[in-house]
């Protein structure tokens, strides 16, 4: 009985938001986002580490469960989601009529994020993370503000690259082990001959997702101009889940990988330095959370790097990582909420309008390529083929060719010619027949 309850609870935690995401199903329900969070809240208070395995899904070995680390994550997520849901309701009245789509996307993001937290193996984690990523990007693009729009497009490109890199990493992991549960993977990678490739891919993938320097440029504009609910979610959804992924996917505490570890430390340090030097000093008030987030991310990554180099250190202090993330998340949420309250009180703050050059460049370059290609028509093979076919067609049409055949037939029909041929054939036959 207990098992069925646990199973039901675990499945409905990501499952309910998914169901509610279909517009037709939630029409009669007023507070759909809040309702969708119910199973997750209940799960928070279930003791122990319940986990289930799901048969028939993908290629087997898929499961959902909750353990110590993910409980912190889940707690932070639930709290921030509830806050976001409340903010959403209060702002829903004076936003444009995107409401149904907005709610659908929010629910999809929620489903993906909570599912990613609950995933116990790499495949389901990847699945939920992809769902969450694309849904969140759609949220960013849906926003009316141009800057957020651009940031969303940039993040989409990063997301696509990240997903591809992570897929490759997933394949490498699967090549070394049948079961894709995190613990098993960590052991397998530790035993494999070259964990470096896997580690570098995982690092690159999660760097792209979590907004580490130098690919963090999409974070500040989004914090600045998105609606508060989305800004609130920025830490929880892309960044924190990315960090969770890094945490899970890398075999921390099991092996010592100095080079990737050092790389991570370097990135982390660079992020913090950049954020402090360029961000916090010149920043407007509204963008402050962005740079705080970046700093926090950098710090976390530094910790990860250290853990990679010194597994013993990780084993000792690693359990603080989720706590850290949760605290940062709550802190950011309070910051943003206070800004919203301040705004309501009338202290508005303007956000500067200069868009990052990188963003513009990334946005313009692919479009330009495509337009240039179309205009210049560099389709070599079709052009060659078309030219060749045209020449063949000309050949077919050319009068010389037809005239040759006409003349041939004409000649053959002249009696003199025909008779000559006839007699010739007779003679040739006889000659050929002679031994």
């Amino acid at each position: 009985m207990n098992e069925i309850m646990t199973a039901f609870l675990l499945i409905s935690t990501p499952g309910l938001p998914l169901l509610l995401a279909i517009p037709a199903l939630r029409l009669p329900l007023p507070w759909s986002v809040h309702i969708a969070l119910l199973p997750a809240t209940v799960l928070l208070f279930v003791p122990g580490s319940p986990a289930i395995k799901l048969p028939w899904i993908l290629w087997g070995g898929v499961g959902l469960g909750i353990d110590e680390a993910s409980r912190w994550w889940l707690a932070m997520s639930v709290m921030i989601w509830i806050a976001a849901a409340i903010l959403l309701r209060t702002h829903a009245d004076h936003s444009n009529n995107n409401s149904p789509r907005l709610t659908t996307l929010i629910l999809l993001t929620l489903a993906g994020q909570i599912g990613a937290i609950l995933a116990t193996d790499m495949a389901s984690f990847f699945t939920f993370m992809t769902l969450m990523g694309y849904a969140f990007v759609s949220l960013m693009i849906l926003d009316g503000d141009k800057k957020v729009h651009r940031a969303g497009q940039l993040y989409l490109v990063l997301l696509v690259f990240a997903d591809i890199v992570l897929f490759e990493a997933l394949l490498i992991a699967a090549a070394s082990t049948e079961i894709l549960e995190f613990a098993a993977v960590a052991r397998a990678i530790a035993q494999s001959t070259s964990p470096a490739l896997y580690l570098s891919m995982a690092i690159i993938g999660f760097t792209l997702k979590a907004g580490l320097w130098p690919l963090h440029v999409w974070l500040p504009p989004t914090y600045g101009s998105a609606r508060p609910a989305v800004a609130l979610l920025l830490w929880v959804v892309p960044v924190a889940t990315g960090l969770l992924g890094a945490l899970r996917w890398m075999p921390l505490g099991v092996i010592s990988a100095p080079v990737p570890g050092a790389l991570l430390q370097a990135i982390g340090t660079a992020t913090i330095l950049y954020a402090v030097l360029f961000g916090l000093i010149r920043v407007q008030r509204k963008l402050l959370p962005a740079y705080v987030a970046i700093v926090a991310t950098g710090g976390f990554v530094m910790g990860l790097g250290t853990g990679l180099i010194y597994p013993a250190v990780w084993n000792q202090y690693g359990s603080w990582a989720p706590v850290f993330v949760a605290l940062v998340g709550i802190g950011l949420a309070i910051m943003i909420a206070s800004f919203v309250w301040l705004e309501k009180m009338g202290f508005s703050s303007s956000v500067s309008n200069n868009v990052s050059g990188v963003v513009l460049w990334i946005e313009r370059w692919p479009k330009a390529t495509i337009i240039w290609k179309r205009l210049s028509g560099i389709d070599y093979v079709p052009k060659l083929l078309a030219a060749w076919i045209a020449r063949w067609g000309e050949l077919w049409q050319s009068h010389a060719w037809h005239r040759a055949f006409d003349v041939g037939e004409y000649l053959l029909q002249r009696w003199a010619f025909a008779l000559t041929l006839f007699l010739l054939l007779g003679m040739v036959s006889v000659v050929l027949l002679l031994p």
Binding site: F405, L412, L421, G426, S429, V430, L432
Partner: protein, 482 residues
């Protein structure tokens, strides 16, 4: 019952019945249509009877009037003759059905006697067992065919008929010369006797050369094919069908018989020459067909091209090659008859046969276009059709014997055929600039075409019976490796 059934001299009936029918049609012109149809059905039944007899008793000889070889007339039936008779009967039945609706009264009076006379000559040709008889029937057939070509009236038809007549006589003359030489050298005209006594003396070889040349002229092998397109294109549709399907095949049949029975003494290079000319016919005919703008001329050149395939069996010489060539002959007969009948339908309905102006014919005359398409499938050698089976066998023979270049000719010929067939079909689905009205044709005319085309397709699926029949009498193993 079976005993009596078996002892009926079907061979005699097959020759006498159409003759009697011809005379009856001549004497009672008012009833010629129904008489013609009845005779066609009766001949079909007789062929079936002969078939049963053959399967039971094997190959048979029948002496006419008790006067056997070497001076009398013997009639000989084996699997090959039976198949030729069967094809003639099927095509004849189809064309008769078609002609009964096609020709209106004045023409019909002339058509039926001539056609039944031609049929009689064809049957006799396929049943002959000596080379002089073959000459006689060949001449009679030629005369009948010429007269039928001229039936259309008009300058074109008469010119074509005249040319055909002269060509026919020339060919027969050469053939007769050869017969004379052989008779002089070996004292017999009977094929079996000749095959036993013949030796490669100069006279015999000269005879072989002459006879072959004459027959090649009559079979319209490239480059002696010049008379065929005008004759076949300007004749009325049923006549074109008969000519392309049956008449040109008759002279090929004679060549085949002689080659198998009497000519094993011929050197390999003659076979190569025939193959070379056949390849030329395939390519020349195919390209010419592609260039045509009128449908009937396209089909006539297609005949030229397909006849070339038949000659590819000569350089290959194996049993598979012969079987393939004969199968090609059978399916081509059915398919070509269907095509010409379809063309006749189009001509009757639209008043012209320009290919570019076919204008959505697929909607207006769907059965006709289907018939054309199915016949075209056999001509192209695409499955499932008799043409495919034949192409397969010829390809197999050419690869097995190492003379792969004939295989290349086969493939290229198939591509050319696909080009001109689909040219027509493509236009039949497309709208042209001048819209045409929906035609009204008697259903009999459309169904005749479709039935013939279906037989060509079915020949590709039910192959056991023809192949089993070919084994009776086994003409392929004498002298040449199987």
């Amino acid at each position: 019952m079976t005993g009596a059934f078996m002892s009926i001299p079907w061979v005699v009936i097959l020759i006498m019945l159409p003759l009697a029918g011809a005379m009856a049609c001549f004497l009672y012109p008012a009833k010629s249509k129904s008489l013609g149809l009845v005779v066609a059905l009766a001949i079909f039944a007789s062929v079936s009877g002969l078939g049963f007899q053959l399967v039971e008793l094997g190959a048979q000889r029948y002496t006419v009037g008790g006067w056997g070889a070497p001076l009398g007339i013997d009639l000989y039936v084996d699997g090959l003759s039976l198949l030729m008779l069967a094809v003639t009967a099927l095509v004849g039945l189809g064309v008769s059905t078609y002609a009964s609706s096609y020709f209106d009264h004045p023409k019909a009076i002339h058509f039926w006697p001539l056609w039944l006379f031609l049929w009689s000559a064809l049957n006799a040709l396929f049943l002959s067992a000596d080379i002089f008889n073959l000459y006689v029937t060949l001449e009679l057939m030629g005369l009948g065919a010429v007269a039928l070509v001229a039936l259309a009236g008009g300058a074109n038809a008469l010119a074509g008929a005249m040319r055909y007549l002269l060509v026919s006589l020339l060919g027969s003359l050469a053939y007769l010369l050869g017969v004379a030489l052989l008779y002089h050298s070996f004292g017999s005209v009977d094929i079996v006797m000749l095959s036993q006594h013949i030796e490669p003396s100069p006279a015999a070889l000269a005879a072989v050369g002459l006879m072959s040349t004459g027959l090649l002229l009559k079979t319209a092998l490239f480059p002696l094919h010049f008379w065929l397109p005008p004759a076949h294109a300007s004749a009325p549709a049923p006549v074109s069908a008969l000519l392309s399907a049956l008449v040109v095949k008759a002279s090929f049949y004679i060549l085949l018989r002689l080659w198998l029975e009497i000519f094993p003494l011929a050197g390999a290079s003659f076979g190569q020459l025939l193959g070379l000319l056949g390849a030329g016919a395939v390519l020349w005919g195919g390209i010419q067909a592609l260039r045509q703008t009128r449908l009937k001329l396209l089909i006539a050149y297609s005949t030229v091209s397909q006849l070339g395939y038949l000659f590819l069996a000569f350089p290959l010489g194996t049993s598979i090659a012969w079987k393939g060539a004969i199968y090609m002959l059978l399916s081509h007969a059915m398919a070509k008859a269907a095509m010409f009948i379809a063309a006749g339908n189009i001509l009757r309905s639209d008043g012209h046969d320009r290919i570019a102006d076919l204008d959505r014919l697929a909607q207006r005359l769907p059965l006709t276009v289907t018939a054309f398409a199915l016949a075209g499938v056999s001509i192209m050698g695409l499955p499932p059709s008799g043409g495919f089976i034949a192409k397969w066998m010829l390809l197999e023979a050419s690869i097995r014997s190492g003379q792969w270049w004939w295989g290349v000719v086969l493939i290229v010929g198939g591509l050319l055929a696909a080009a001109y067939i689909f040219k027509v079909i493509g236009h039949a689905f497309t709208q042209s600039e001048q819209p045409h009205e929906a035609g009204l044709l008697p259903t009999r005319m459309e169904w005749a075409a479709l039935a013939l085309a279906l037989v060509a397709i079915l020949l590709g699926l039910f192959t056991t019976v023809p192949f089993a029949l070919l084994e009776i009498g086994l003409p392929f193993d004498k002298g040449r490796a199987g």
